[in-house]
């Protein structure tokens, strides 16, 4: 478990002083994968560095696994860091050491005997699916393989908590998928808490249980991913599942419909059409399952003669939220737009 309380980090002095983290509160429960998203420069990497105290916080507290880290001296801190596995964006593998030797380093630092080191390294490389690559140097591995070696190294000392800063950024979709799958498995098998920091919304959808949006050093929105997606007023929810430009408008009015309830019937479009006695035209949709729950949104066109209130009621009865988005009510469509701070 990770608990950050009123975490503040400032750089510089006097007039050059900038506050990168501003009284930030964040909790990652046991066995939880929590994503922190935010635009570049939001302070995500600083947050990661503060959790391991690679950067000392200016004020506030960092509690990992029940232990307050911000008051520890350098030696105790080194010990405490061993309970936190860290995966960095650049895999950070030493170029003159093989995959196995890189994974072995944290064990060497701790003073584990060679025989135990060998056994543990074999186990770890097997865990990340790279047993056959043990003797390869980093330059002989693909980006995804290097990142998995980095994850094996982070797991070497059996941490309770994994911290990943842009662990999948810069990887191709296939490698990203393999890392995401590995992280989920690790949570399920080892019961890890994972703090996953990224600017990639798609990865959050595939991986995280909860998401928090960091902006100007503060968490401006957070919640379970499913809840965020179901909340039509959540800008983080909209950013996680962005709407793409929809098909050219049909005559009539255009409505943005989103899944707000848990039991939206799959044939809702036909049902609403029957109830209202009109044909609804589907202009665009993105619907899928996140963690076993159906979530998504659609854009539909409705004949101008339809009573808007009746439409909204009919949809609400099926667990759908509707909002008119044609000219009279311009839609929010751009992804960057929703990354602006909400007033």
């Amino acid at each position: 478990m990770i608990q950050l309380r009123q975490l503040t980090k400032t750089y510089g002095e006097g007039p050059h002083r900038t506050t990168v983290l501003d009284h930030l509160d964040l909790t990652v429960d046991d066995r939880e994968i929590a994503a922190v998203v935010g635009p570049s420069g939001a302070g995500k990497s600083t947050l990661a560095a503060c959790v391991t105290l690679l950067e000392p916080p200016t004020s506030g507290s960092v509690v990992v696994g029940g232990r307050e880290l911000s008051s520890l001296g350098e030696r105790d801190l080194r010990d405490a860091r061993r309970q936190i596995g860290t995966v960095f964006q650049s895999d950070g593998l030493l170029s003159r050491r093989t995959a196995a030797q890189n994974v072995e380093l944290p064990l060497r630092y701790l003073g584990v005997t060679p025989a135990d080191r060998r056994r543990r390294v074999a186990e770890l490389l097997d865990r990340v699916g790279l047993s056959t690559r043990a003797d390869h140097y980093p330059h002989q591995l693909s980006g995804g393989q290097r990142q998995r070696v980095g994850i094996a190294r982070a797991l070497a000392l059996r941490p309770r908590v994994l911290l990943a800063d842009e662990a999948t950024s810069g990887l191709d979709p296939e490698a990203t998928a393999s890392v995401v799958r590995l992280l989920r498995d690790l949570r399920d098998d080892l019961g890890l808490s994972i703090l996953f920091i990224t600017h990639e919304m798609e990865t959050v959808l595939d991986l995280a249980d909860s998401a928090a949006r960091l902006d100007h050093g503060r968490i401006v929105e957070q919640g379970r991913v499913v809840d965020l997606l179901r909340d039509p007023s959540s800008s983080l929810g909209r950013a996680l599942l962005p709407r793409r430009a929809h098909a050219a408008s049909a005559p009539g009015t255009t409505w943005s419909v989103s899944y707000a309830g848990a039991d939206v019937p799959p044939d809702w479009l036909a049902r609403v059409g029957t109830v209202l006695g009109v044909d609804l035209a589907l202009l665009g949709a993105s619907i899928g399952a996140v963690d076993g729950h159906t979530v998504g949104h659609a854009t539909v066109a409705v004949p101008a003669s339809t009573d808007p209130d009746a439409l909204v009621r009919a949809l609400a009865g099926l667990g759908l939220h509707a909002r008119r988005t044609d000219a009279a009510h311009p839609p929010v469509r751009r992804v960057d737009a929703v990354l602006e701070p909400v007033a």
Partner: protein, 249 residues
């Protein structure tokens, strides 16, 4: 002096005598450079590590101490060797009891070499990505473990390249030291080639020096290549198996 003048008048050393003159001199040069390089590596490496890690952003930031150390090294680096050697005569005499010969040459050569090598090590460590150090810290490494397992280890190819340059510079310095009677190839070149216009001996010393430097360079290049995994021609090629597409379970 009259003996030397006499030799000059008789028109140079017979070709057959040249090896007897040059080979022991080569041995002296190798001895001088060898002793110096051992001292240089033993003292210069920790000094370079300190220079790098006392600086802002290093493992143990001590800006004040860093400046003092950096300044001292810079003084050693900026004096031409001939002047350093002359300036150090009193120190050399205290340390070795003499101010001529191999023992006397080793002192100024070592000092110049240490300053040179410290900068080479510092510069090599600077090229190690800071992210490597962060990873090691996050893995629970102590500062000393970071220095050995990350900084020196990753910078090794670069340090070896610098060491090669350093050895060649020391061969050159040993020739300069030869002018104060330190022996070695330089001494032969000065006394026979320069003072007696003995062109055959001069040519022989030049050939020996060129060969020596070329050998050092070749050895150095090989060492750098061996220490760099991606420059090494790997015997163990990647197995083109189906495993490469398998993802972790």
């Amino acid at each position: 002096m009259s003996v030397l003048a006499g030799a000059a008048l008789t028109g140079g050393t017979p070709l057959g005598h040249i090896p007897a003159l040059v080979i022991p001199a080569l041995g002296q040069t190798l001895l001088m450079v060898g002793i110096v390089m051992v001292v240089v590596v033993l003292v210069g490496t920790p000094l370079g590590v300190l220079l790098h890690n006392l600086a802002p952003g290093g493992l143990v930031e001590r800006p004040g101490l860093h400046q003092v150390l950096g300044w001292t090294v810079s003084v050693g680096r900026s004096l031409p060797f001939l002047i350093l050697m002359a300036a150090l005569v009193p120190v050399t005499r205290v340390l070795t009891g003499t101010n001529i010969g191999i023992a006397a040459a080793v002192v100024p050569m070592s000092l110049a070499g240490i300053a040179f090598f410290a900068r080479i090590v510092e510069n090599s460590l600077r090229s190690v990505p800071p992210s490597h150090v962060r990873v090691a810290k996050a893995s629970g490494a102590s500062p000393l473990q970071i220095v050995t397992s990350v900084q020196l280890s990753e910078a090794l190819p670069s340090i070896l390249g610098g060491l090669t340059i350093n050895v060649i510079a020391m061969i050159e310095y040993s020739a300069i030291a030869g002018t104060i009677g330190a022996g070695g190839i330089g001494y032969v070149a000065v006394t026979y080639g320069y003072q007696r216009f003995d062109h055959a001996v001069m040519l022989a010393t030049i050939l020996v020096l060129i060969t020596l430097v070329a050998l050092v360079q070749l050895t150095g290049d090989t060492a750098v290549r061996t220490a760099t995994p991606h420059a090494r021609r790997s015997r163990r090629m990647r197995r083109p198996s189906a495993e490469s597409t398998t993802l972790p379970a």
